[in-house]
Structures are given as C-alpha cells and as structure tokens.
Symmetry: C2
Subunit: 357 residues, 2 copies
Amino acid sequence: MKKTYFTPGPAQLYPTFEKHLQAAVEEQLGSISHRSRRFRSMYQETAENLRALLNIPAGNQIVFTSSATEIWERSIQNLVGESSFHLVNGSFSQKFYDFSVELGKNAIKQDAEPGKGFEVAEVQIPIESELVCLTHNETSFGVMFPASSIHALQALNPEMLFIVDMVSSAPYPELDFTKIDSAFFSVQKGFGLPPGLGVWIVNEKCLAKAEKLKAAGHRIGTYHSLPLLWKNALSFETPSTPNVVSIYLLGKIAGDMLQKGIQIIRRETAERAAEMYGFLEKSEKFKPLVQNKAHRSPTVLVTQTSGSQKVIDQLAEQYMVVGSGYGNFKESQLRIANFPATTEAEWKRLLKMLATV
Amino acid sequence: MKKTYFTPGPAQLYPTFEKHLQAAVEEQLGSISHRSRRFRSMYQETAENLRALLNIPAGNQIVFTSSATEIWERSIQNLVGESSFHLVNGSFSQKFYDFSVELGKNAIKQDAEPGKGFEVAEVQIPIESELVCLTHNETSFGVMFPASSIHALQALNPEMLFIVDMVSSAPYPELDFTKIDSAFFSVQKGFGLPPGLGVWIVNEKCLAKAEKLKAAGHRIGTYHSLPLLWKNALSFETPSTPNVVSIYLLGKIAGDMLQKGIQIIRRETAERAAEMYGFLEKSEKFKPLVQNKAHRSPTVLVTQTSGSQKVIDQLAEQYMVVGSGYGNFKESQLRIANFPATTEAEWKRLLKMLATV
C-alpha cells in the first residue's frame, strides 16, 4: 500500500505526477537538447503557467536553479553589495541570514522566539539595508508572515529591494509582485514534485542591481549570475543544462492547478488548516505551537505533543507519514504539511487518526 | 516509434532507465526525506557502485552537485587561492578557464586549435599554478587527452592539484585516482540519465586546500563548499535537499554497468569508435576532424561534412538523432556520441545509414 506524505517537503507528490512523468518518458524528454525548440517551448509553457497561477507581471523573469538553497546564495551575491536585513524566526530564515554572513556581507537580523511571528510595527529595518529578506512561511516552526504584512513593510521602505522565501507555502500566498521585487520556492513542497529544481522570480530592479554590483567589481557568480540567467530566460533558455524533466513536470502541474483554479486551492488550503487547528486546540494530546492565529501557517502546521515518535509510529501503521519537530524540538513537536497534493479524503483520514492516537 | 539519441548529451537513456524509474515511483522516492535512513542507504549504494566502477580509493569522497557546470565553479572557489592552469582546446575547457577568470583568479591557459590535442612534452605549466584543470574529452571537437598523458603530466608536477573534467567520457577513461586529486562528470552523458545531477570526486588534499583557503579568508561558497559537502558525505548526506531520484537512478545504472563489467563496456566503446572512425576515413562524404589518432575521442566522434543539416534530417527520418557541430562549426561538422546506453544493433544501424546518406 502506498503511503500518504504529510511531511513538509519532500512531500506528497501531486496526483497527476505519475501521468505527466509517463508522458515525459514517452516523449524521451530526458534525452532532448536544452538548446532545442522543444525545450524552449517547454520552458515557455512552465513560465506562462506559473505567471498565470501566481499573477506575476510580464516584466518579471522566472528563472530556474537547482534548489531554493541555491537561491539564498545567488540572491545575496546578486542583490547585496554591503548590507542585507533578515527577519529570523526559525532555522530556515536563520540560514538565509547565515549565507549573507558567509558571503561577507553586513547582515543584520531581527529575531523572534520559536513559534512567534512579527508585527509590522515592531520591525526595525536599518536604513542602509539594500535587500530585505523575508520568509513567508518558516518551515521549522510553522509561522507565517502574512502577505499583507509583507506588502505593508515594503510600503514603509520603498527604496529597498524585497525578497520573499515562499519555499513551503507557494502557491498559497497572494503576493503582490508589483510591490515585492523577488520571490522563490522549490518544487518538492506545495507543487508536489520530487526535489531537484528551484524557481526564482525577479523584476528588472533586481537585474539592474546585479549589473550595478558587477560593474563595481563585486563577484556575482558565474553561470548562475542573475544577468546571465535573465538573458537566457529571454529566449526561454538556461545558461547550463538544467533538470529538464522537472521543468516539464512543474509546467504540467502548474497547468493542472490553473485548471482547478488557484482560488479554490487557496480556499481548500485555508479550510483544511482551520479544521486541523480547531482539532488541535480542542485536543488533550496536542496544542498548536503558534498562539497568534494570524501567524499560523496554513501549509505547515506545527503542534506540540508529548512524545512525537509514538504518534509518528502509530500513523505509520496506517501508511500516513507526518514530520517530526525540527532540530531540538524533534521529540516534542510534530509538523504536518497541508499541501495541494493531498486530497480531502486523505486529510479527513489524518484528522480521524490523530483523534484516536 | 522511439528515437535513438547519438547526441553528446543529453543523450540516449540507459536501457534499464525506465525499469529503475518505475521502481523509484513505486517506492515513492520522490517524497522521502533526505535526512532519512532510506536516503542514506541510497547515497551509500550509489557511492559504492561508482567507487567500484571507477576504482576510486576509499579515502576519496564522492559528492553531488546539480551539474558539472556547478563543479567548474565550486572547484575553482575551493581549490584555487591565486592561480589555476588550463589546457584549452574547445568551448568546454574554455568555459572552465572563463569561470576562474570570473571568480577573480589568475587563470593561465595553453591553447590548441579546433580538433587538436596536447602532447605532454609541449605542455608548460607555470610554477605558481595551484590547480591544473584538464579536460579528458573536449565535447565540442571530440578531442581526447588520454589518461596516460594526464598521469604523465601529474608525475612532472606532483606538488600541484590535478582536476579532470570527464563529463562526456565517464565511465570510459581509466583514471588513476591515486595520481589525480579530483574528477567530475554529469549524468546525462555516459551514464544515460536525464540531466540534473553532477558527481564530484575529491581526495583529502582537496579538502585540506579548501580548509586552508577558508582559514585565510577566501570565500569558498556556502551550502556547497567542499568542507560542507565532505562532512555531509561522511554520513551519506547532502547539505541541502538534492535530486534524490537521480542519485537513486545513478546508483542503479552504475550497478548495472558493474554487472556487465566495466572492461567490457570500455572495450565495446573502443571497438565501436574504431569501426566508426574507419568508416569516416574511407568515406567520401565524411572526414574525421581529429587527425592525430591518439587524440581521437572514443565517446564523442566529430566528423567534417558538407552540410550537416541534410545528414541530420535524413537520419531523423530513420529515428536516429546525431548532434550538429558546435558553435561556428554547426553546419560543417557532425558530433556522434558513442555512449554505453546505445546498443550494438543501434550502432550498426547508424553506420549503415551513414553509408547511404
């Protein structure tokens, strides 16, 4: 019997994944040249579907890397001369900050405790910040920084570049790409694909910044510098041979999501999350980690529990896989992903099982 | 009808590819955590099979990146403080050199004309070179720098680090990993997989060099710095979520190659190449680009021809795909890959068709 993965990534594969993979095999897409017309039409389809799904303006480019981790590195290299600012409330936002430090930048951060989020009024961004790095969904503790807060923060600092890590929430957040300058995600979370591809959305201000840094003698990378990624994207190409099959699959699944309707997907995500948080609040065995309801992630739900391994084992007997807590909280927390790939019936089944463990 | 790809990469998929992909889907490997026991056992199997296949000493590490292009960048960052040396005889060896320049190093090169190789006695390596960058098989013009020449050059310069680009020849060359320090390839050439994974083989001298550079304040990267890749590899892990399915498939295909026998694969490759070069020499329509027989690549065969597009079109009618010439030689040359994924029957069929075009 196949398992259902409620893990925060790698995660459950999208229901149409196998069908599209089979089509890719039939069409021998693993053998085609990344300089061929077929590849360019595939890149174009994937970009157009993502553009429609996430409401990305025509002037923005959608480029591919190998992972979101790579985009942490590339974005700092290409968008920061001296100073970056980071809101840090978990391991993943912390890593984005760490990358900036490792790359020799003056990285400044504002911290929040595990399970806590940020209020716009409390955020203090140093005036010298060139790039503001925000994490829409902190995967380690299931804390969300809502899209409306991101937009409000940007409005207060219109001269800075804003980049949003939407790794474990895309395509859920309704980001306004006329306000933010860049966002990124990887495909093994909300898009229900195997890992091996990162998606980086950038506007012309990002390109101009990278070119300015390069002209000033900064090292912005080689084959995956933003100017080179951008230039190639203009003709739907990539600087080097990419994960061709994954680009194809992403386009197909984005197409399926468009067909279903992104607002339906968002509503289902919110409804299922509300149902689960409601259960966790009433339960005697579980308790939502995030107290502030406005900061609770709809896509990665974290609950406190006494002895997570026992729950994980009981669910495993029923072929359901949930994530343990992150890092030091491995034993005392559970992480439950609520991604579009899981069906209504699977979600109900999980809720039912959690009520009996 | 399915096509047979004789292209220099992406290329024909290995005959067992579909079977292994199906097994990966059945086992839901696209959903498993890269911190799980299952992933570690998979990494271990892949590394052990590659170690046996390529005769890699136990002290060397085998680490994964997203592509060989990435390894050009990471190897310069991690193994070069000031100076690198490059033998350049085509676009790919040139790019390795370009990366070193872009990363601010003092990169020095020795050039050869298209279709020409290097004699060990002619090579002059500046004494300050820290890393000697050699391309075993220059994919653009089908020129080989034989393993014996690589070993001889290293013996003359034992204090320098030697790295070998074996992208479009692995697993063919019998490199002596007690002599060279590093080598790398990507999976969409001789291993017959879709693109999206690079394999980097490194010894302890490479690790020591990277650590020394880091201690001296050089920027050696973030998540894919060599020390971090190495540390993770010790427990068969990766610093970030990798292309899990591709690592699995590579291990299985390396296992299939072991079962067939690497010496049989090498002999078949050499025999088929000899047969094709023999035909090209006698043909009135074709002429091998590389004159020096010792420098002719057995894995990427380049021939001159008048009007390559016509030949490509005629072969396409028979569901056979060969590569055009590289760059400016697109119209006047053909590139024919002779990778282990194509069968004896397919090779014979190509020879027969070429004789009639």
